[in-house]
């Protein structure tokens, strides 16, 4: 089969424009407490109930680094095949805003904890490596709430000080589709590692998207615009497409692009200017004097490396080799850690080939229809395994199995119980089937003659008749064999 070709260009009458995209992903670190304080990071608490004196920047309060967050950042770095910097520095990024209590955010500027790495994407046109520029740790700000009152803005500091990893890609992405794939892969890796839950609804994963365009074939980058704080993959794709088109339109009409920060309007589906380069903040970065330079021992990194779980790419290779799956199938099963967990649970007791088909086709259809995650699946791995085993042992046909599966989705009951209660067990007694077959032959003597004269297509008709009488329970394989023998007589 010929591979699909990459084909995302903004096409105009004059030109094909290539779109260059780089992503700054902000991923919330999975950790019970904040980056520099002991407050809880739990989502959804009452406003300002998870705020320490440090988080609210009271006079004389000092940050103390949460070592677990360091561990999480290093693990993520290792998952991105990145260089771990044993020496890194926390800097202050200074700006005024009501939800930034200290007037500065503690971040990492020139010396991040993780350096260059890469992520492998499986695109329909082949695999593609996306470079990672860096990963650094920083504090999240609080939340300003503007819509509770017409006259006031309220500030919730529960999120203030929560640890974020900012993961900066190289400008290696070329289409919304690649961005989709990149974010999903990144999220998948972090979920495998347990370093970020990737929950975009709760804001655990959001991105600033840098977009520029250039004519196909050119090597110099165009002027880029940064679209701030996009919080769903769909919006990222839409924002890129609309921003790229806007830039192309400007350039083709002879104007130039202003380097600026833009926002994506999710209602109008277009980006609009937030602030120009002239209005850009001067963050006055400098090393935070309250914190010593961060030094990590080599052994600390080595230890984490040893304890690293199997990551999506490795798991995929293993599935292909060990389970004889196609790269596509393997990819589908490993892309979400919960899917691979589900799969591995099912194949503990059930046939691999049936298991992968049932998960990829039937189960996914149900999850899609209900718009739920596999974690919330109404059919447990154990129950799916039972169903598959009923097929393997010949107790039910594939067709009946689908019927049983539907009932399982509705009731959550195990397959064997449903089969028993509904009497769906397959008829596999040759004598009983022979009786039915004979009945069908006797009833349709005319058709039998036609068949014997060469109208072999009628075989399907006989099968249908047998199945009808057996209420679909007759073992199709046996019916086939017995029918053939009887028709020869």
């Amino acid at each position: 089969m010929e591979k699909d070709k990459f084909n995302y260009f903004i096409k105009t009458e004059k030109n094909n424009w290539e779109v260059i995209i780089g992503l700054e992903v902000h991923a919330q670190v999975v950790s019970d407490s904040k980056l520099f304080s002991g407050s809880s990071t739990k989502f959804g608490g009452k406003p300002n109930t998870q705020v320490s004196l440090v988080d609210s920047a009271f006079p004389g309060m000092l940050p103390v680094i949460n070592e677990y967050c360091i561990e999480q950042a290093v693990k993520t770095g290792l998952g991105l095949n990145a260089k771990i910097n044993l020496d890194s520095i926390f800097d202050r990024k200074n700006y005024f805003y009501a939800d930034l209590p200290a007037g500065y955010q503690i971040s990492q500027y020139k010396n991040p904890i993780v350096g260059e790495g890469e992520i492998n994407l499986d695109m329909p046109y082949g695999s593609k490596k996306i470079g990672i520029e860096r990963l650094h740790l920083e504090q999240d700000a609080g939340k300003s709430i503007h819509d509770l009152s017409p006259d006031n803005t309220y500030v919730d500091l529960n999120r203030s000080g929560v640890a974020l990893m900012e993961i900066v890609s190289k400008p290696d992405l070329r289409s919304p589709e690649e961005v989709n794939s990149y974010v999903k892969k990144l999220r998948s890796i972090m979920r495998y590692l347990g370093t970020c839950d990737g929950n975009m609804q709760e804001g655990s994963l959001r991105a600033d998207v840098n977009v520029s365009v250039r004519k196909k074939g050119e090597t110099k980058f165009g002027t880029r615009c940064e679209i701030k704080n996009v919080n769903s993959i769909k919006f990222m794709e839409m924002a890129i497409d609309s921003e790229a088109k806007r830039q192309v339109e400007l350039l083709e009409s002879g104007r130039s692009i202003d380097q600026e920060t833009r926002l994506f309007d999710t209602k109008k589906k277009e980006t609009r200017s937030m602030r120009s380069k002239e209005e850009a903040h001067d963050y006055r970065y400098f090393p935070d004097p309250d914190l010593l330079p961060l030094k990590i021992e080599k052994s600390f990194v080595e230890n984490l490396k040893k304890k690293l779980p199997e990551l999506p790419d490795q798991k995929k290779d293993r599935y292909i080799k060990k389970f004889n799956l196609s790269p596509y199938e393997a990819n589908v099963l490993v892309s979400e850690i919960d899917v691979s967990k589900f799969f591995e649970e099912v194949i503990k007791t059930a046939d691999i080939k049936l298991a992968k088909n049932w998960i990829i086709v039937e189960l996914f259809a149900i999850l899609n229809e209900k718009n739920i995650e596999i974690k919330e699946s109404p059919v447990s791995p154990k129950n799916l395994a039972i169903l598959i085993n009923q097929i393997s042992s010949g107790n039910i046909s594939g067709k009946i199995a689908k019927e049983v599966f539907e009932i399982m989705v509705k009731t959550g009951s195990p397959a064997d119980k449903i089969i028993e209660e509904k009497g769906l067990k397959q008829q596999s007694n040759p004598e009983e089937i022979k009786k039915i077959v004979k009945k069908v032959i006797d009833k349709n003597s005319e058709k039998v003659s036609e068949y014997k004269l060469g109208k072999v297509k009628l075989f399907g008709f006989f099968i249908g008749e047998v199945m009808k009488i057996s209420a679909g329970k007759a073992n199709p394989k046996l019916v086939n064999e017995i029918l053939k023998t009887e028709l020869k007589k």
Binding site: G103, R284, L291
Partner: protein, 486 residues
């Protein structure tokens, strides 16, 4: 009955321990002194009700285990004190009452001390004369028209006037040693990281250090022991066992090498300062020390370096005073930005604004490398100077300040000349090492002048011991007639 106006901290502690006097009696005595000294304006806040209650409680329980049993103490208003107003000398924190206690003051109360009140200081510790305080000038007990020095001016004034048997200050560029020098008292700036910064209103985080201010060296050792110690809440706190400075205090100079840095003989320094320095050198020689001429070649750059690093950090540290969460908020302004501008414009004084502006400037993109980064490099060179010297000598002797106490208003319109007053103290903060100022004598007008002893990091004991020897030989006595009580 002893005269509490003559007794030292150590003596009072012993009097209480031997039950010759109760904590309540001592506390009442100092409260009376404070009430008679309103003219000095050394206090911003007093909390006598609490002081008396705590003293009574102490006398009931009589726990003499602490280093400061039942001792009433006033502290600089830069230390956050639980349920007691903490202003940092600023309008912007005029009504700020912390719900927490700084680690250092907490250490004092754990050792048995009792709080008397909060002492005046330059706004956010930015100043060398206490004239930048929002709460008015503090007067030097040495003379009505004299500044007490700064920024721990209220502390020095209260100590010299015996409104507290000892006190604590903070020293970012000389804020303990310079006022000690101006008031004829003893002040020590410990090694950076020896005393926790947790709960101290921050000025310049990489330089700020709390330290004792006392009547003599013996008290200094005792108070340093009480206030210091590792604190996991401060990432820059040094994790080591607590030293017993008091127990290990002894006159011990014989065989020690004392460095005299040539760069500290600056142009236009009053002859009297030079004389006192030479007198100090003679005393050390006679006590058996070897005098070694040394060079600290980057001394000249210390002041400009300091006035880049300190304002840079301050501009960021003071960003939190924005009217949003606590402290003063201006009622003027139509939006958030205007509220910020008005709050900070009305809440901060001139000197604080000056330094916030300098700090913001030197950190700005395009200027960062030329100023802040270069200053950090020079800072390293200054530290190296000291490191090199301490390979050759055990301690360094210098004057504490280039002048004795000056008059109110004398330098307020000339910030540079004000900044120059810190010329001998600032290099020590940049290097993160300890230094003590002890009275060296008086000038022709009878104003005290201090001598500074500098040691390598964590070598407080060495300078305490040398200071003890010198103190005995100098035999300085402040001639204060308690004029403010009339």
């Amino acid at each position: 009955m002893s005269d509490l106006n003559q007794n030292t901290l150590t003596q009072i502690a012993n009097l209480i321990k031997t039950k010759k006097i109760s904590s309540l009696e001592v506390t009442k005595f100092f409260i009376e002194n404070i009430e008679k000294a309103k003219k000095l304006n050394s206090f911003i806040t007093t909390c006598f009700e609490k002081s008396l209650k705590d003293a009574k409680n102490f006398d009931k329980k009589k726990n003499y285990k602490g280093l400061l049993p039942g001792i009433p103490l006033a502290v600089k208003d830069l230390f956050c004190t639980k349920n007691i107003k903490t202003t940092a000398g600023s309008k912007i924190l005029e009504n700020f009452i912390p719900a927490y206690e700084s680690s250092v003051t907490n250490n004092l109360w754990s050792e048995g001390a009792i709080i008397l009140g909060k002492l005046n200081c330059d706004e956010f510790a930015m100043g060398s004369s206490n004239e930048t305080s929002y709460f008015g000038n503090t007067i030097n007990p040495i003379g009505k028209s004299l500044v007490p020095g700064g920024s721990s001016g209220g502390s020095a004034s209260a100590l010299a006037a015996n409104l507290t048997p000892a006190t604590i200050g903070t020293d970012t560029g000389g804020s303990i040693r310079q006022p000690a020098s101006f008031t004829g008292t003893v002040g020590l700036k410990p090694t950076y990281g020896l005393c926790s910064r947790w709960g101290i209103v921050a000025f310049a985080s990489s330089l700020d250090q709390a330290g004792p201010m006392t009547k003599n060296v013996e008290d200094c050792a005792l108070l340093l022991e009480a206030m210091s110690g590792y604190d996991p809440k401060d990432s820059t706190s040094i994790n080591k066992k607590k030293e017993q400075y008091s127990k290990n205090l002894k006159e011990n100079v014989k065989g020690l090498k004392i460095g005299i840095p040539k760069e500290y003989r600056i142009d236009n320094m009053p002859k009297e300062i030079d004389n006192i320095w030479n007198k100090g050198i003679d005393i050390l020689k006679k006590s058996g020390a070897t005098i070694v001429n040394i060079s600290l070649p980057h001394t000249n750059y210390a002041l400009p370096t300091y006035y880049i690093v300190a304002p840079a950090e301050a501009s960021s540290n003071l960003a939190r005073y924005d009217g949003v969460k606590y402290g003063y908020r201006s009622k003027k302004g139509k939006n958030l930005i205007e509220m910020y501008e008005n709050t900070r414009g009305e809440g901060f004084g001139r000197e604080v604004k000056r330094r916030v502006l300098i700090g913001t400037y030197v950190l700005s993109s395009g200027y960062y490398d030329a100023y802040y980064l270069k200053a950090q490099k020079v800072r390293k060179l200054i530290k190296n100077d000291f490191d090199e010297s301490f390979k050759k000598v055990d301690a360094i002797l210098t004057p504490s300040t280039p002048s004795s106490a000056f008059k109110f208003g004398e330098k307020t319109n000339d910030p540079i000349s004000m900044y120059l007053n810190d010329i001998f103290t600032v290099p020590v903060n940049l290097a993160g090492i300890p230094a003590i100022s002890i009275p060296g004598g008086v000038d022709s007008r009878g104003y005290p002048m201090g001598l500074q002893l500098i040691a390598k990091a964590l070598d407080e004991q060495t300078i305490l011991n040398i200071a003890l020897t010198m103190e005995k030989a100098i035999n300085f006595k402040n001639s204060i007639n308690r004029w403010w009580e009339n």
